[in-house]
Symmetry: C2
Subunit: 705 residues, 2 copies
């Protein structure tokens, strides 16, 4: 979808323009006319001849010129009619400001379906409905009913909540600049994915960001996000997602009618899509400020320069917590710092230039440190002491930042005393904060982008011996039987077809067959009686465990004799020869879970009783790459249990990864699987010993999706 006419229109028709002060039709037309926009505006209102001194038309079809963009501000019920006229006029893009669609219930949902159909039929790039419109400072274009046109800049921002837009505009007026500022409302046609693709190709955009209450297509967003970050001109993406708690989700659903998935699913989604997730509204603004004013760092080593030791310590703590490393300066840097700074200054990182530092001392320290190859980025902390020169220190920071291509962020921990210095920094595109912790958090996120970009690409494992046909046959039969859950045997057959290891099991009816089976298994086995009359096998002496393969004949005889003695009337059909589990295995959980409206999650973590209590699990949406699996394993709190602790051998990671890939492959092949639980999978240092102990599959109620 090409959004150029939408975001760069030569002419705009305002359907529902009005001179009645206080109405949206009034405010919006005012905003279009009085912000410097150079294109032509056509007000449309059947009740007026002229509006705002412009000729007014009763109808879009009456305008004798081509129109690039139609903005629709009429009651929801007549929007379909109006939109059809817009399409027939050949207008390529439209904004529906009006509310009253899917957010209001069933009638509204039908109206929304209607406009989607019209937009698709007429090929209209449609923004909204139920939105504020958009703003483009560089064109002097305020195509919204928000009051404030923000400063021009390199951030493309879009939001599902209109009110959040106005708050963000007001709060960030001094600190942020936007190329595009878009309210996307109900996302009937234009959604997150379309906008990300469009903005990523715009050379005026350096950072993309959005607020969402629910994404509609996880796998497209993942694909788009990864592709954008893989390009040479990678552009960071920052998202704020609300509804992180159950109570939040409830409020969110009633607000927009979006079906919000669980929060950990979103955390997984954003990680996979290489999108930085803001922790809060404030954090979003912090991130935008740092990201829009800095290039990506080479690595994650930060230098701190401060005139207050205490704040240096707080910054250090925050650096470590944000995944950064405190840079170790080279000897030359330390020597040069020692030569020129007072003796009681600290010349290792954090550099304490002391409370009496004038701008010159800051400048000296900054220049020495920025040149050090061990430093990837800098945080400069200035507190208001008697001698502090805020403006001159700001000038020093600005000069250094222009010269060296490393991220530099300033903390000016003062308000009244620092007004001039802070303003100067902002005018010169230096991100400036009041507190060390929030700024460090933003630098940590910037380094995360670099980490993602520089992650070695891992070739995907080739998965041999997958028998999709067989799994499909079994699942079809389950469906035909009207069941949603395959039996234990069916489940194991399905998973075996995808290469999952189960315990070898043979049904035998004679001693000789038992001996053959034992030889085939070649290790310790269990013997279990097969009889329709015996439910509690152990009580009847019908189970013998830990039999050496050499003794299996003898054990078979014993088993038969014992059972016949204990339950003389039972019909005996033979016995099962079952492989025994190796000792010392660890229990893992592997699972699939469909997230409504998002996709299928692959879940992986500690198995057994620890699943429920410690909840040490990690998840990703399918399809996933081997690098995702690498990240999942690292994310697990108990990952050391897998890689080996106390000199214990770790488990065979290669095999574990392969099984996770196989499970992902299965999820893709059978989207009708709603839930799958392999719990536990027994894992070992020797791949031959891996075994599934228990597994369950549940299909979704719909035939196929």
């Amino acid at each position: 979808m090409n959004l150029s006419t939408l975001f760069e229109p030569q002419s705009i028709a305002v359907i529902g323009a009005s001179t009645k002060v206080g109405t949206v039709g009034y405010t919006l037309t005012e905003n279009l006319l009085h912000n410097g926009y150079a294109g032509t505006i056509y007000p449309i209102n059947p009740k007026a001849e002229t509006l705002f001194g412009l000729p007014c038309y009763a109808n879009i079809s009456l305008i004798p010129h081509e129109i690039d963009l139609a903005i629709i501000i009429v009651p929801a019920s007549i929007v379909p009619l109006v939109l059809r006229e817009v399409g027939e006029k050949g207008v390529m893009s439209a904004i529906i400001i009006s509310a009253g669609f899917k957010e209001t219930g069933e009638t509204g949902r039908k109206l929304e379906e209607e406009i989607i159909a019209i937009a698709k039929e007429k090929n209209i790039a449609l923004l909204g409905p139920n939105c504020l419109g958009f703003l483009r400072p560089s064109l002097g274009l305020n195509a919204s009913f928000a009051k404030v046109l923000p400063s021009d800049g390199n951030i493309a921002f879009f939001s599902q909540s209109g009110a959040l837009c106005t708050a963000l505009l007001d709060l960030s007026k001094e600190a942020l600049g936007f190329s595009h500022f878009v309210s996307i409302g109900n996302k009937a046609i234009i959604d997150e994915n379309i906008l990300l693709q469009f903005f990523s190709a715009d050379k005026n955009v350096s950072v993309m960001s959005f607020y969402t209450e629910g994404i509609t297509d996880a796998s497209s967003v993942i694909e788009t996000g990864r592709a954008i970050l893989a390009r040479p001109d990678a552009k960071p993406i920052i998202a704020l997602k609300s509804g992180t708690t159950t109570a939040g989700t409830k409020a969110s659903s009633s607000h927009t009618g979006a079906l919000a998935g669980s929060d950990s699913a979103y955390t997984a989604l954003f990680k996979q899509a290489r999108i930085i997730r803001a922790e809060s509204f404030e954090n979003l603004i912090d991130l935008l400020s740092v990201f829009s004013h800095n290039t990506l760092p080479e690595n994650n080593r930060v230098a701190i320069i401060t005139n207050a030791g205490g704040l240096g310590v707080l910054a250090t703590d925050a650096a470590i917590e944000s995944g950064l490393r405190i840079a170790e300066f080279g000897e030359e840097t330390k020597t040069k710092l020692r030569d020129a700074l007072p003796p009681s200054a600290s010349v290792s990182n954090p550099v304490d230039v002391l409370g009496d530092a004038l701008a010159e001392r800051y400048q000296y320290a900054l220049e020495r440190v920025v040149k050090d190859d061990n430093v990837d980025m800098m945080l400069v902390i200035v507190t208001p002491q008697t001698m502090t020169e805020d403006v001159k220190t700001a000038e020093a920071i600005i000069a250094i930042k222009k010269h060296y291509h490393k991220p530099i962020v300033a903390v000016f921990a003062g308000k009244a005393s620092f007004r001039a210095g802070i303003d100067l920094l902002r005018e010169n595109a230096v991100a400036v904060f009041s507190y060390p912790e929030s700024s460090m958090k933003a630098l940590g996120a910037l380094a995360q982008i670099t980490k993602w970009r520089t992650m070695p690409s891992v070739p995907n494992i080739t998965l041999a011996n997958i028998d999709k046909e067989k799994a499909s046959e079994i699942l079809t039969k389950v469906r035909e039987d009207g069941r949603l859950t395959p039996t234990e045997k069916e489940t194991s057959e399905i998973l075996k077809a995808y290469g999952f290891p189960f315990f070898a099991t043979y049904e035998v009816t004679t001693k000789e067959e038992a001996i053959t089976a034992g030889r085939a298994i070649g290790k310790k086995v269990a013997l279990k009686i097969v009889s329709p009359d015996i439910i509690h096998k152990s009580d009847a002496g019908g189970v013998i465990l830990g039999i050496d393969p050499d003794n299996i004949g003898e054990a078979y005889d014993t088993l038969m004799k014992t059972v016949k003695k204990n339950v003389p009337d039972a019909r005996i059909d033979g016995a099962l020869v079952v492989e025994m589990a190796e000792k010392g295995g660890k229990e893992l959980l592997l699972g699939l879970k469909k997230e409504p409206g998002l996709g299928t999650l692959l879940v992986f973590g500690l198995g057994g009783i620890y699943v429920e209590t410690l909840k040490d699990v990690t998840m990703r949406f399918v399809p996933l790459e081997e690098s995702d699996i690498e990240e999942m394993v690292q994310e697990l709190k108990s990952s050391a249990l897998l890689t080996g602790v106390r000199g214990e051998a770790g488990i065979d990671m290669r095999t574990l990864k392969e099984l996770l890939m196989r499970l992902a492959e299965f999820a893709l092949a059978f989207p009708e699987v709603e839930e799958l639980d392999i719990n536990p999978l027994l894992v070992f240092s020797d791949k031959e010993n891996f075994r599934v102990l228990d597994a369950r599959i549940r299909l979704s109620k719909e035939e196929k999706e």
Copy 2:
């Protein structure tokens, strides 16, 4: 220590006063003279006759009047001399501004010891050295070299870092008011504990707060904090502690020479002392703003009123994450809201008054909600929409807050448009924020205070059968032998003396003795050969497990026969009859760890291999109360494993708690124990089955502390 003359002096001598602009002696005297202080100032400087138009003295002894407070700004090396003169003059309190003491190394440390001795001898309430001084806005008294005198208010704040003081003063000018603002520097005499006790008795103080890089006496702070919160006029305490990471601790140590303990120890300390720990510098300011302007809530149910759904959702998320509950309104409230709000408004919590809400609609909703008994506190969110009335809405909030004694916090999510409304709120003591998340976090902390205050008091368990003498004898012997670690046997004897259950063990030399021992144990046992010549007992057939008491004689014969056959030349001294562990126990870790300069931590958590990987542990300083243990158990991520999952019976909590109390008792009795590890303790639903499987004790190098 009475600090009245320090903080409310009638007369002040400034030793080291100076008219040289830019010196501390100049700035400080200036500050004393020009902020409205009504007492008398005596400048002291041997080189001047008058200073600032006041008669100047060469020496404090020459002043012919009584002096309440001496402020000392002379080089460190002559401070002892000057302080002695101060003492001899009978001055009850002093501030040493000068630096150059323990923060600078060995010479400084000795100087500091000297001034401590003098202060103690002369009974001087001493603030500093190496500090900024203090400020008392209500007295117009700026006894510091910080530029800004803050607004008067009800917060008593003190800080170990002077630079943090100046930053805080500058940043909080508009939002916070202080009764006392104190820089405590090196804390030679006056420390956190002394100040907390003093401020808690001052009726002008409602909230106490401090910044620390290391506390010197954990148990006193715990005792003081708990006592303050238990009083009818409980005053909340908020602390900011830096050095939370290893790198941060490094920076902190080099900064003040304080020996900072590990971060989790501090988290435990603050919890135990009922002190709210600020997450960051910014969070500290947020907390101070909310705490100083609100009374404690009855409970933790919050109502949210907003004109922007999106921000309501973000606030809801933050509420849940901060330990609050979203209030469920009563039917009357809902009906009244429904009657008056527009149909599309949300009348359940969060209340969405919609984007076009004028002040009147806010006021109506606020009044209905604040009256609801299900609501303990309110967050009012206002975003800048076209019609929004910031000043009138602020007025409505102020009026409601004056009328009802529930905490109310405002979020005005705008800057430019909201300047007037925000100023009005601040002038009327309403805490106002730009973002919903940070304000909710502060409300969560406020509710935490209430939770602590209303926790049911639990009577302490009486610990019977503790044989302290015996443990003491064994430990004395270990010391006498020049050892720091008791043997396995000694360790078990020590712990048995404190009531810890070990496996019953008997040394036997005959079959008959073995039978008797087996009967005494009365459950399954193991037999182990005792021989100085056999190291690997199992290999020699010297171990038989799981013997039924009835078969022990037979097993003894078998054991002897087998070992003699396998190792014919071995000297055999007999056998051990050892009780076997019950099946199905859970492995826990109980431990003690001395934190240098703080006290002894009792550590408790998951045992076995999970200790290292999952680090699911919790800790508290001894002495502890039963309520602490209650909290510890609840804090454990795996607490469900103990209370029972999947229908499994939980473990006997009473016995576990008793053992933790016993361990605390042991730690108090033997402070020379540096580390103790009981790992694992096997725990069961039946208290009779609890057993220590392995334990280690290490003593500190010093004889006793």
